[in-house]
Symmetry: C2
Subunit: 434 residues, 2 copies
Amino acid sequence: MEKCNVALYGCGTVGRGVAEILLGHQAGITRSIGRGIRLACVVDKRVDELRKLPLLAGIPICSDLEAPINDPEIDIVIELIGGMETAGNITEKALKAGKNVVTANKALLANRADALFKLARQRGRSIGFEASVAGGVPIIATLRDSFVAETISSIFGIVNGTCNYILSRMTDEGVSYPEALAEAREKGYAEADPTLDVEGHDSAHKLAILARLAFGINVTDNDIYCEGISHINPADIAYAGSLGYKLKLLAIGRIKDDGVELRVHPTLLHRNHPLAVVDNSINAVCIHGQAVGEVTLTGLGAGAEPTAGAVVADVCRMALGVYQEDFRLLPVFGGTETIHCIPQEQIETKYYFRLSCMDRAGVLARVAGVLGEHNISIDSCIQQGRAHQDSGYVPVVFMTHRVKEENLLNALREINSLECIDGAESVMLRVAEI
Amino acid sequence: MEKCNVALYGCGTVGRGVAEILLGHQAGITRSIGRGIRLACVVDKRVDELRKLPLLAGIPICSDLEAPINDPEIDIVIELIGGMETAGNITEKALKAGKNVVTANKALLANRADALFKLARQRGRSIGFEASVAGGVPIIATLRDSFVAETISSIFGIVNGTCNYILSRMTDEGVSYPEALAEAREKGYAEADPTLDVEGHDSAHKLAILARLAFGINVTDNDIYCEGISHINPADIAYAGSLGYKLKLLAIGRIKDDGVELRVHPTLLHRNHPLAVVDNSINAVCIHGQAVGEVTLTGLGAGAEPTAGAVVADVCRMALGVYQEDFRLLPVFGGTETIHCIPQEQIETKYYFRLSCMDRAGVLARVAGVLGEHNISIDSCIQQGRAHQDSGYVPVVFMTHRVKEENLLNALREINSLECIDGAESVMLRVAEI
């Protein structure tokens, strides 16, 4: 069979990882799949810098975005530029020019999957996106292929390695959020501008992609409630620990009778939950299927090598000609339904909250009174020691039974306005019931 | 598209699970995959019993093994009869008659995969076997598709739910092996004759299938060192626990410079290892790929529903026509290499052993002397308290550094023959270095 020609757009860390696999394991790949894959060119604006890399010796490098797309020899375009505008244009043009596209771009897919997938289908081409969620963890293939006949009721997971690393450090060492973030930067786990990661947007992008596949629904990240970890105080991680819980940033999608819940937020998980032991930069996704029960996939969620491995797996299956049919059959086509996204205030779960209470008689009674009025019942409560002389306030921690978020928020608003409570210090976290 | 006609051979618990999904979710399956799947007939010797099941009302049931195979209307044969002889014949005849076959029969595949896969390939047909390993956990699809371009260096896991349940009970409750086995029987986790499970043969069957896919090598379960759990004493689980380890029955496949290690045995796993928290009847498999790193898949390994879900997933992908190409491309064809299986005495790992030592001065020195002569160095040692008056012996527990199994066995043989040691009471367990 003729070699399959690949153009690599974007040669940062993941791009170089892809080049390393394609160039370093040519013989192995050819042996495995029975067809050679040729890295035909690299497209990147850092032409001079890349020309110095021994890795890319002999590979044409250019900054012209159009030429490879218009080259009839190119079969597959790998889009690793990131961002929305340019990456979206390249993907569109490549599909229109008859190329298959492999991308790791979750932001692009979270926002424009519907249009791009439709375009690909019209042109008889495909988009490979295994690398867009959880790096080397084959969650896309599993949802697409192995769960083809399953009714999936929920999908949730830890899909951002940066946040998981930061929370792990805060949990294990008791360090503050800024300290843990600085460490994550040092280790290369966090970008110079970490906003996309730490505010939960990256997780929301991934949840949009997962929910589309798992539930066959048409969603973008705008449909997802999103709360990050930058406001987390290590004190709450410690209190949660003493109650038997660990704090994780979870992306949660659940089918309910009246629609779908889609949310990203810091979540207390019981320490016996399989995801509670997923620490550092590891990712993990749980899928609940009606027949197969709960299946969990765990592995490296980021990093050049795992992500590059996922890109190359898609490239190989495209080169083999087997991916195109898998893509054509994605449940996001045809059956794509618009579904009611349940507003965050309407969800029901358990809650953790910490109040800063004046250290005097009757305060707890007043708090309990407000909670009772809002039908909130308490599962457990921690109050340790007396107030420091200088503040006069003591932290009191509550864990509720199941309650509607609206009720909880209304009650907290009322409690925070009590003159015996320092409302500015109140903290609320959701507890997983999954 | 025309409906896809399926003949179901064997209607025990898994078979009924398959019938339930195919009959109960017809509309959903048709919507998902765009093609109907019809349960055309059930083949089972318990015809009268099955005719009474409301589930199978209207479905032809017969005990004639030949008729459905010779029926040109049948597209797919699901083989859930189990055992080797009849199941092998049915599979062979079905393939020769131009049917695709889906099977959950690990014993059959562990022994005859090479011949059956070749036959299927010659006839342009395929064998689906996702259900043969770890039930609903999509480990076969992951190895086949997502790891197509990976160099896999090791695969290991907990692939027998019965053993994992028994060991979990012995660990959590300190009960003896016979008590835990009785519980497993009561809960339906163990067969009347549990030999295949508890002696490790079932795990070895599954390892043969996994190693074939992961490493592209031609192995049967005869190539696998196999040791079960029926000799395990809860005392050793407790000692291991105090050293920070948990006992699991692991199936391990590892590529080494001089061949491949294939072994099933009770293994001490450090409590921080991801598999250490996989308890009860849950299965989990870890794969180490050169690019993607370690990926772990966890889920229900047995039970009617998960296994049936995996069967139906294969059936659906065959009905869609996408599975045939995946099967054709399995690395077990063409590249199939015979590889040197490293004899168990030649493996190197850490070891745990417990000796029953006479409670008198100089005994430890003699043991240490023998260990030293065999170049075995000790990582840790536990001796608690003095001997009971009636026995005069005390248990002493050792954990070694890395050593060749041959050396360890020679040393133990020598130690067991010392007159100050009750050799009949000695216990040796391997410690995972994975």
